[in-house]
């Protein structure tokens, strides 16, 4: 029982004081009440019509709105200044409002000479009506706002989780790529070296003709090691510790050559190998994805890529002369990858169709993210 009581009490307040809403609803109520009373109370046999009734009620209603608003706005202001007394101010404000309403009625009745049903005017429990309006409006708006806020918070939480999950998926993908690349680079290459050396040992005493054939095979093994395995390893996970972004991006360009020509212009600052490895990886992955989209979906023949410094930011622009943008290009699986890496560099990106010209990808990126 006590918990029920506590809950009821806490439901009562304090909520933020809604000066505007209360004054509007309260004055509309007064206007309606006065009008209804006026047109239903013939004085000296004359009955007011609806417009006359409204005209009679309007000044009082406006005054009530004004007084209510001022009273509550002052209360809200005091609450702001004394946050530790919020509860007390919240409840006292209800009393003050009710008392001021009573005073206002005296003023209004005197000023505007209500020659109406005096009993109704005097008997109307204005004090309690004011108090009820105050609490009902504050509580209902406060509660629905709190509910809405909770939903917004929850959605935001889910969105953050999604963001984290997306980052984790990208990390996991990067990790797997790296493991395979390491296997290709260390394991497989090493095995090919061993194979070549063993073949050479075995072929040592062969007659020249057979030795020549064996040598051709050894050369082929070396070619597979030096070119094929390394290229595969490099494509999976570029060794950005050793090479610059420019070299890595040029490597992407070579993949599409000669079908797609990629022109590259990169500021010298970014070419420096001193950039953090993950930053280089981010630039590389963004470029890789955008060029892939241009070549695969846009069937571009030419791609222009530039990275230029702009204050503490860098502008990455990748234009292509492919097909005009369609929805699949705007929101494919690739854009999640791009978003993740752009987020990592605390940036923003967009993909637009320059009218009558190119498809343009633009990103504004911070190359030294605060979080290492």
């Amino acid at each position: 029982m006590t918990s029920w009581f506590k809950k009821a009490l806490s439901d009562l307040g304090p909520w933020p004081i809604r000066s505007k809403e209360i004054s509007i609803v309260f004055s509309l109520f007064i206007l309606t009440a006065v009008t209804v009373v006026e047109i239903n109370s013939p004085v000296n046999g004359v009955t007011l019509n609806a417009f006359e009734g409204l005209a009679k009620g309007l000044p009082g209603a406006v005054l009530a709105a004004f007084v209510t608003y001022i009273t509550l706005a002052i209360s809200a202001w005091i609450t702001d200044k004394n946050p530790s007394h919020t509860t007390a101010i919240y409840f006292v404000a209800a009393l003050v409002l009710a008392v001021i309403m009573l005073l206002t009625r005296v003023v209004v009745v005197t000023l505007f000479n209500f020659n109406v049903n005096g009993q109704l005017t005097a008997g109307f429990p204005l004090f309690w009506v004011a108090v009820v309006f105050y609490f009902v409006i504050n509580i209902s708006l406060g509660k629905s706002n709190a509910k809405l806020q909770a939903q917004v918070d929850h959605t935001k939480f889910l969105l953050d989780q999604l963001e984290i999950q997306r980052g984790k998926i990208i990390d996991a993908q990067e990790q797997v790529r790296k493991e395979i690349a390491t296997y290709l680079h260390d394991g497989l290459q090493s095995q090919l070296v061993v194979l070549g050396l063993q073949m050479r040992n075995a072929a040592k005493n062969m007659p020249p003709e057979q030795l020549a054939i064996a040598n051709s095979f050894i050369e082929e093994i070396e070619h597979i090691r030096r070119v094929d395995v390394r290229k595969a390893s490099q494509q999976l996970s570029p060794d950005l510790q050793q090479i610059s972004v420019t070299a890595a991006i040029r490597d992407i360009a070579d993949r599409y050559s000669p079908e797609v020509k990629v022109a590259i212009g990169i500021d010298s600052e970014i070419q420096s190998p001193a950039l953090p490895e993950r930053t280089k990886l981010a630039l590389y992955r963004i470029a890789e994805q955008v060029i892939l989209n241009a070549a695969a979906h846009g069937q571009a023949r030419n791609v222009w890529l530039s990275i230029a410094a702009d204050g503490d930011h860098y502008n990455l622009q990748i234009a292509n002369d492919g097909l005009p943008l369609d929805e699949s290009q705007r929101s494919g699986g690739g854009s999640a990858i791009i978003s993740s890496w752009v987020d990592y560099l605390e940036g923003t990106w967009s993909l637009i169709q320059v009218p009558g010209q190119q498809v343009l990808f633009q990103a504004k990126l911070k190359l030294k993210p605060a979080v290492a």
């Binding site: 680079h185 290459q189 050396l197 051709s216 095979f217 050369e219 090691r225 290229k231």
Partner: protein
Amino acid sequence: MNGYGDMRGLRVLFVENDPALLGLLSESLRIQPGIEQVTPALSAKDVSIKDAIRYDVALLDVGLGSESLSGIEVGFQLRARNPNIGIVLFSQLITSAIQASLPGDTGHGWSTVSKSADLSMDYLVKVLVATAKGLNVMEPKATSLGDAAEAPNRISKLSSKQQQIMSLVASGLDAVEIANRLGYAAVTIRQELSKAYKVLVPNPTTGTDLRTTAVLNYLRESRGATYHD
């Protein structure tokens, strides 16, 4: 600088984290003339730096695993202990960057050898001997990473007849069998083949078989045609 002059063979320290390669190369080196002793070590931890004076030359794999010192660092430590030891760096990928990172002033007796499948023992021994004497031998095949991209499209330069003949050669037929199958004279097939070889193997190296190399190049390029998809 130790030893080679007084007819004693080289004492080699060999650090390599691939056990198969370590075993194979150690054995192959041991039986080479001019090599007295090969001490294998699987990791940087297995190397006793204070024993550096017991070796004339160290053959060091550059990448010894991500949690280990690199071969270059091991080389510096050995050199600090024994200023006369020759250091030969051994890597799958001798880049110009690695070569540039080697010390310039104390670059005495630092060499690089590419860990390639067609590595010749004679060459390796020559490099070890020269480095022990204080010479620097730089890997001539040092690459920048972009090099791997060369992808000559030689097949497209073959006539369609030559392509047809090459695909039959690749499946193991000889000139006579191809002539029978295609309805030409064998001599025509041989002429076409020698033209095709010139296209597929523009710079034949001595000691390799032209026909085998041509077939391997043909197979590689026809395989490579679908590589980017």
